[in-house]
C-alpha cells in the first residue's frame, strides 16, 4: 500500500460543537491518509464522529482544528467559493437517505449533478452501469429504496469525482439490496478506479474493504489493512 500515491492527507483534525455551557468534541485530533484507488470502510458506533469526518473530507463542513490536504492542496483554508468548486469537481456523495430531488426523474437527478461539472461521464452509461437503464425516466416516488440509492450512486459517480464518499449507503436497505449496492460501489471502485470511502456501523462490511478504520468517541482507535478483501457477495450479517 505504501507504494500507492496519497490522494488525501488528514492532519490533526478536531471538531468541537458548543452546546451552551458544554463543548462537544465530535472529532479529536484525527489524522489519516487516503490513497488513490483504495476502498476504505469507516466503522464505529453511533455518535463516534463518522459523519462529521466525512463532511469535513467532502468540503461540506470545516474542522475546528487541523487541516485536510487533497491532491496537494489544503482545502481547509479554501474560501467558500473554492470549496463549492471542490465539491463540484472532486467529490461524489452518496447519502443514507438517497436524498434525490423528488420532482426530478432518475436521469434528471443525475444530470442535475453532471451539468455543472467539467469532466462528467456519460449519464446514460452510468445509469446502465447501476442497472437502471430501463427506469431512468421514473420519479423517485416510483422507485424502491434500493433503486433510489442506485440513482444516488449514479449521481455521485457520473460527476467523475476523485473521491466517492458514502454515508451509510445501506443504512435504509434490507440485506440483499444492501449487498447489491455494495457490489455496485465495489465495481465502480475497480472499473473506474475511484477512491471510495464508506461509513457504516455494520462490522461485516469491513471485510470487503482494502482498509478498515475504526472510530470511537471522535478518535481513530484502529486502522486495519485488509490484504485480501472479499467480494461483497460473500458478506454475511
Amino acid at each position: 500500500m505504501d507504494s500507492k500515491e496519497v490522494l488525501m492527507k488528514v492532519e490533526g483534525v478536531s471538531k468541537f460543537y458548543q452546546m451552551g455551557e458544554v463543548t462537544v468534541a465530535a472529532l479529536k485530533d484525527v489524522s489519516l491518509n487516503i490513497y488513490q484507488g483504495e476502498f476504505v470502510v469507516i466503522l464505529g458506533p453511533s455518535g463516534s464522529g463518522k459523519s462529521t469526518l466525512l463532511n469535513i473530507l467532502g468540503g461540506m463542513d470545516l474542522p475546528s482544528e487541523g487541516k485536510v490536504v487533497m491532491e496537494g492542496e489544503e482545502i481547509t483554508n479554501y474560501s467558500d467559493r473554492k470549496l463549492t468548486i471542490y465539491r463540484r469537481e472532486k467529490i461524489g456523495f452518496v447519502f443514507q437517505f438517497y436524498n434525490l430531488m423528488s420532482n426530478l426523474t432518475a436521469i434528471e437527478n443525475v444530470e442535475l449533478a453532471t451539468e455543472i461539472c467539467s469532466d462528467a461521464l456519460n449519464v446514460n452509461e452510468v445509469l446502465e452501469a447501476v442497472g437502471l437503464g430501463e427506469r431512468k425516466d421514473h420519479f423517485p416516488a416510483q422507485m424502491s429504496g434500493g433503486e433510489q440509492q442506485r440513482v444516488s450512486i449514479a449521481r455521485a459517480v457520473a460527476k467523475n469525482p476523485s473521491l466517492l464518499l458514502c454515508d451509510e449507503p445501506t443504512g435504509a436497505l434490507d440485506f440483499n439490496t444492501g449487498i447489491k449496492i455494495l457490489s455496485q460501489l465495489k465495481r465502480i471502485n475497480k472499473e473506474y478506479n475511484k477512491t471510495v470511502i464508506i461509513i457504516t456501523h455494520n462490522m461485516p462490511i469491513g471485510a470487503m474493504a482494502d482498509r478498515v478504520i475504526k472510530m470511537r468517541s471522535g478518535e481513530i482507535i484502529e486502522t486495519k489493512v485488509n490484504d485480501n478483501p472479499i467480494p461483497p457477495e460473500g458478506i454475511e450479517w
Partner: protein, 787 residues
C-alpha cells in the same frame, strides 16, 4: 438548448403549487393592468385635451364684466404678453320645452366676428354659424341629452320674449368638455343645462348689449406664461371701471380644472392601486418562498453538496417569483390594451373631446415590466435568503425538530386552564407563526379599511344632504330675481302663491381678501332672525347672524386663511362699489357650497342701498315653480327637490366607483387569506398527517384552520376599524373639493356592513382551500419524510 435541470425542477415546483402561483400572479396582473391602462388613458386624455385646445385656440384668461365697449377690449393689446383679446356676450336664460314643469336653462354665448376666434367651436355636424341671426349652434352634450337634431327649433326665453332659433350645427367646445352650469353644480346635467352659440348681432340685440360685451377672452403669448399673474393684475386695473365681476385663469376654468382633476385622479389611482397590489404580492411571495426554502432544506443541502453555489441556488428560487412577475406582466400588458381602449371609449362617451384618440405608450409596458420584476426579484431574494444559511451538511441530517416554546398566555393559568384542548392548539399555532399571523391580521385590516371607504362614501352623501338641507338650510325654494328689487316684492309674491313662510335675501358676489389670499364668493344676506338658515360653529355650537360682521363657511375661512376676529377686505365687483373691511364673527360648517353670511342691514349699509333684495326664500305647498314661471324679474326658482334629484344622480355615479373599490378590496382580501392559508397548510402537512393518524378526521382539522382564521379575522377587523376611519379621513382630504365638504360621519352600520363584507372575503378564500385539506394524503406525507 437543453433546459437546465434546476429550471426543470422549478417548472415542476410551479406546477405543484399552481394555485398559489396563479393567485399571486392575479395580483400582479391587476397591478400591471391598472398601472398601464390608467397611465395610458391619463396620457391620452391629457394629450387629447391639449390637442383640442390648440385646434380651437382655447382661451388663457376669462374675464366677466358688467359691460365693456369694444374699444376697451382693443386697448388690452397694450398690455405686454397679450396675444389677442375678444369680447362676447353670455347670459343664462330659461329654455322653453314641451313639459312646462321641466326647468331647462341655456347659456346664450355669442361667437366673435373675428378671424381667429378664441374658443373656436369644433363643428361636429351641420354648417357654420352665418351672420343670419335666427340660427344657433348647439353644444353636443346638450343636443344629445335632449335629442335635439339639425333643423330643430329651440326656444330660449330672453328678457321676457321667446326666440325660436333654428339649429344649424352641433358643436363641441373646449370650454365645455365637462359641462356644468357653475361651480355649485355637483355633476353635469346635460339635459338641464346647455349652451347655444349665436351670432354677435343676435346676442347684442336680444340681450341689450349694442356695441358692447360682458365677457372677454384673452390669449397670452406662450413666452409670457410665467407672468400670467402680472398680466391679470394689469387687466384688472385697465378694466376696473367696467365692473370686473371675475377674472379666471385657464387653470381655474371649470371644465379645464375638472378635466385636469380627472387626469390627476387617474394617475394617482394608477400609482396607489399598483403599489398596494405589488406590495401585498411581494409580501406573499416572500412568505411563500421562505416556506418553500424551509421545506427544501434537505434538497438545498444536496445541491450544495453537489457543488452548486449560493448564487445559483438563490437564483433558482428567485426565478419562481420572477416567473410570477413575468407572467403577470405579460398578461397584464395584454389585458391593459383592451382595457385602455374600453376606458378611452368610456371617456369618449362621457366627455366631449371630439379628437380623443387612443395611442399605445409602449414606455408603460417597459416601466411596468421593470417595476414588477424589481418587486418580484427583491421579494424573491428576501424570501429565499435563508438559502445562504443552509449548510451542505444539512443534506445528511434529518430535520432538526423545532424547539417548542411555551407561549406567554400559558403563564396566565386561570385563563389557559379554562381553554379547551382544541382551542389551545389553535392559539399555539397562531403564536408559533407570529410574523405570519401579523401579516394575515394586517392584510384583513387592510381589506377592511379599503372596503370601508366606499361603504362610508355611499352613506355619507345622504348625511351631507340631510344635514345641509334638513338642518342648515330649511327653505323649500330659493328664488332669484333678475335685478335687485324693493323688499315690498315679498307681499306681491305672497299674493301670487300660498306661502307658509317667506324671507328676503340678498346675494351679491364679492372678492374677500385676507392679506394676499383672496377668493370670490357669493355673500348671502339674511334677516337677523332668519328661520331658514341655521349656523353652527365647527365645534357644533349654534351661532346667530352678527349684527355687525360676517360669518364665513369653514372652507372659505381656510381658503383665505381667516379666523374669528380678523378684519377682512370685501372687494366689490360693481362698477362703483367701495372696498370695505369687515370683522369675521364666526366660522360655520357648510358642506355644500362656499359662502359668507351677514344680515341684510349690514349688507345694505355696505352697498349704500336701502330696502333692496335680490331674491326670497320660502316654504310652500303650492305649485311654486309653475306659478312663478312667467313672472317678470324672476330669474330662477330653485327647489330643494331639484337639488335632491341631482344628488340622486350624483349618488348613482358614486355607486359605480363604490363597486369598483369593493372589488379591489375583495380581491386583495381573498388573495391574502387564500395564499397565507395555502402556505400554512402545505407547511403543516406533517402535522395534519400526524393528527389524521391519531384519529382526527378532516372536518376537525378544517375546523381548527377555520378557528385560526376566525381569530385572526376578528383581530384584523378590530384593527381595521381605526385604520378604515383614518383611510376615510385621508380620502376626504384627498377629495378636498372646492364646493363640497365631506363630513367624517361614519355610521355604526357602516362598520357592521364592512365587517360582514370582510368576513365574506375571508370565508370565500378559506373555502377555496378546503380542497387542499380534504385531498391531503397523509400516508404519502408521512412516507415522504423518510425517503
Amino acid at each position: 438548448m437543453v433546459m437546465k435541470r434546476l429550471d426543470v425542477r422549478l417548472l415542476r415546483l410551479i406546477k405543484h403549487s399552481k394555485g398559489q402561483f396563479f393567485s399571486i400572479s392575479i395580483m400582479v396582473i391587476i397591478a400591471l393592468t391598472i398601472y398601464i391602462s390608467f397611465n395610458m388613458v391619463a396620457d391620452n386624455l391629457y394629450n387629447s385635451i391639449y390637442h383640442y385646445y390648440e385646434e380651437t385656440n382655447f382661451s388663457d384668461v376669462f374675464i366677466e364684466v358688467v359691460r365693456v365697449p369694444k374699444t376697451a377690449i382693443d386697448k388690452l393689446y397694450t398690455i405686454e404678453g397679450i396675444e389677442s383679446a375678444q369680447g362676447r356676450i353670455s347670459a343664462d336664460v330659461p329654455l322653453r320645452v314641451e313639459d312646462p314643469e321641466e326647468k331647462v336653462r341655456v347659456r346664450i354665448v355669442s361667437v366673435p366676428n373675428e378671424d381667429k376666434i378664441i374658443n373656436n367651436l369644433y363643428k361636429i355636424e351641420g354648417k357654420d354659424l352665418q351672420v343670419d341671426s335666427k340660427k344657433t349652434a348647439v353644444l353636443q352634450q346638450f343636443s344629445d341629452a335632449r335629442g335635439i337634431v339639425l333643423e330643430d327649433r329651440v326656444r330660449p326665453y330672453i328678457a321676457g320674449r321667446e326666440y325660436p332659433l333654428e339649429v344649424i350645427s352641433i358643436v363641441g367646445s373646449p370650454e365645455y368638455i365637462y359641462l356644468m352650469e357653475n361651480e355649485q353644480s355637483l355633476i353635469p346635467a346635460p339635459e338641464k343645462f346647455g349652451i347655444l352659440y349665436v351670432t354677435e348681432d343676435f346676442a347684442q340685440s336680444a340681450l341689450g348689449y349694442q356695441g358692447s360685451y360682458n365677457e372677454i377672452m384673452v390669449k397670452i403669448n406662450p413666452e409670457y406664461y410665467n407672468s400670467v399673474d402680472n398680466i391679470v393684475d394689469d387687466i384688472e386695473d385697465q378694466l376696473d371701471r367696467y365692473g370686473v365681476k371675475s377674472i379666471v385663469k385657464r387653470e381655474d376654468q371649470l371644465s379645464h380644472s375638472m378635466m385636469m382633476q380627472e387626469v390627476e385622479q387617474l394617475e394617482a389611482m394608477a400609482t396607489s392601486i399598483t403599489l398596494l397590489f405589488l406590495i401585498v404580492a411581494a409580501i406573499i411571495i416572500n412568505i411563500m418562498l421562505s416556506r418553500i426554502v424551509k421545506n427544501d432544506r434537505m434538497s438545498i443541502g444536496v445541491m450544495k453538496a453537489l457543488g452548486y453555489n449560493n448564487i445559483s441556488i438563490l437564483m433558482h428560487y428567485t426565478k419562481f417569483s420572477l416567473a410570477i412577475g413575468l407572467l403577470g406582466s405579460i398578461i397584464g400588458i395584454v389585458l391593459s390594451i383592451p382595457l385602455s381602449a374600453a376606458f378611452t371609449n368610456l371617456y369618449i362617451f362621457y366627455m366631449n373631446i371630439p379628437m380623443f384618440e387612443m395611442t399605445l405608450y409602449e414606455k408603460y409596458f417597459i416601466y411596468g415590466i421593470v417595476l414588477t420584476s424589481v418587486f418580484c426579484i427583491i421579494s424573491g431574494l428576501i424570501g429565499a435568503r435563508s438559502v445562504l444559511k443552509i449548510l451542505p451538511a444539512s443534506a445528511m441530517q434529518p430535520e432538526i425538530p423545532k424547539a417548542g416554546h411555551r407561549i406567554w398566555l400559558e403563564q396566565i393559568k386561570f385563563i389557559w386552564n379554562r381553554i379547551s384542548f382544541s382551542w389551545k392548539m389553535v392559539i399555539r399555532n397562531i403564536f408559533r407563526k407570529k410574523k405570519r399571523a401579523i401579516f394575515l391580521i394586517l392584510g384583513i385590516a387592510l381589506t377592511y379599511s379599503i372596503t370601508m371607504v366606499p361603504i362610508f362614501m355611499s352613506s355619507v352623501w345622504g348625511n351631507v344632504f340631510m344635514i345641509q338641507y334638513g338642518k342648515y338650510q330649511t327653505m323649500g325654494y330659493n328664488i332669484d330675481f333678475t335685478i335687485p328689487m324693493n323688499d315690498s316684492v315679498i307681499r306681491e309674491i305672497s299674493q301670487l302663491i300660498d306661502v307658509d313662510s317667506i324671507e328676503p335675501k340678498t346675494e351679491i358676489p364679492f372678492e374677500l381678501r385676507n392679506g394676499w389670499k383672496k377668493k370670490a364668493v357669493s355673500v348671502i344676506a339674511l334677516p337677523e332672525n332668519t328661520s331658514f338658515y341655521y349656523f353652527e360653529s365647527m365645534s357644533g355650537q349654534e351661532l346667530k347672524l352678527p349684527t355687525n360682521g360676517i360669518l364665513l363657511s369653514d372652507r372659505l375661512a381656510k381658503a383665505i386663511g381667516a379666523s374669528v376676529g380678523d378684519d377682512i377686505l370685501m372687494k366689490s365687483f360693481l362698477p362703483d362699489g367701495d372696498d370695505t373691511y369687515i370683522n369675521v364673527k364666526g366660522v360655520v360648517e357648510q358642506y355644500l357650497g362656499t359662502n359668507a353670511y351677514m344680515t341684510i342691514d349690514t349688507m345694505n349699509e355696505l352697498i349704500g342701498e336701502k330696502g333692496l333684495i335680490t331674491g326670497v326664500l320660502l316654504n310652500s305647498k303650492d305649485d311654486v315653480v309653475t306659478k312663478l314661471k312667467d313672472v317678470k324679474n324672476v330669474k330662477q326658482v330653485q327647489s330643494v327637490e331639484d337639488m335632491k334629484n341631482s344628488f340622486l344622480e350624483f349618488m348613482d355615479m358614486m355607486i359605480y366607483s363604490v363597486g369598483v373599490m369593493m372589488i379591489f378590496g375583495g380581491i386583495l382580501g381573498f388573495a391574502i387569506v387564500y395564499n397565507v392559508n395555502v402556505i400554512s397548510i402545505s407547511e403543516r402537512v406533517m402535522e395534519f398527517s400526524s393528527l389524521r393518524v391519531l384519529g382526527f378526521d378532516k372536518r376537525e382539522i378544517y375546523k381548527m384552520v377555520s378557528r385560526e382564521n376566525g381569530i385572526m379575522a376578528f383581530f384584523g377587523i378590530l384593527i381595521g376599524m381605526p385604520l378604515g376611519y383614518s383611510m376615510c379621513k385621508g380620502m376626504i382630504a384627498s377629495l378636498a373639493m372646492d364646493m363640497v365638504t365631506i363630513p367624517l360621519i361614519i355610521e355604526n352600520s357602516s362598520y357592521v356592513i364592512t365587517a360582514i363584507a370582510t368576513l365574506s372575503f375571508v370565508i370565500i378564500a378559506q373555502l377555496a382551500t378546503v380542497r387542499k385539506i380534504y385531498r391531503l394524503n397523509f400516508l404519502d406525507a408521512l412516507k415522504n419524510r423518510i425517503s
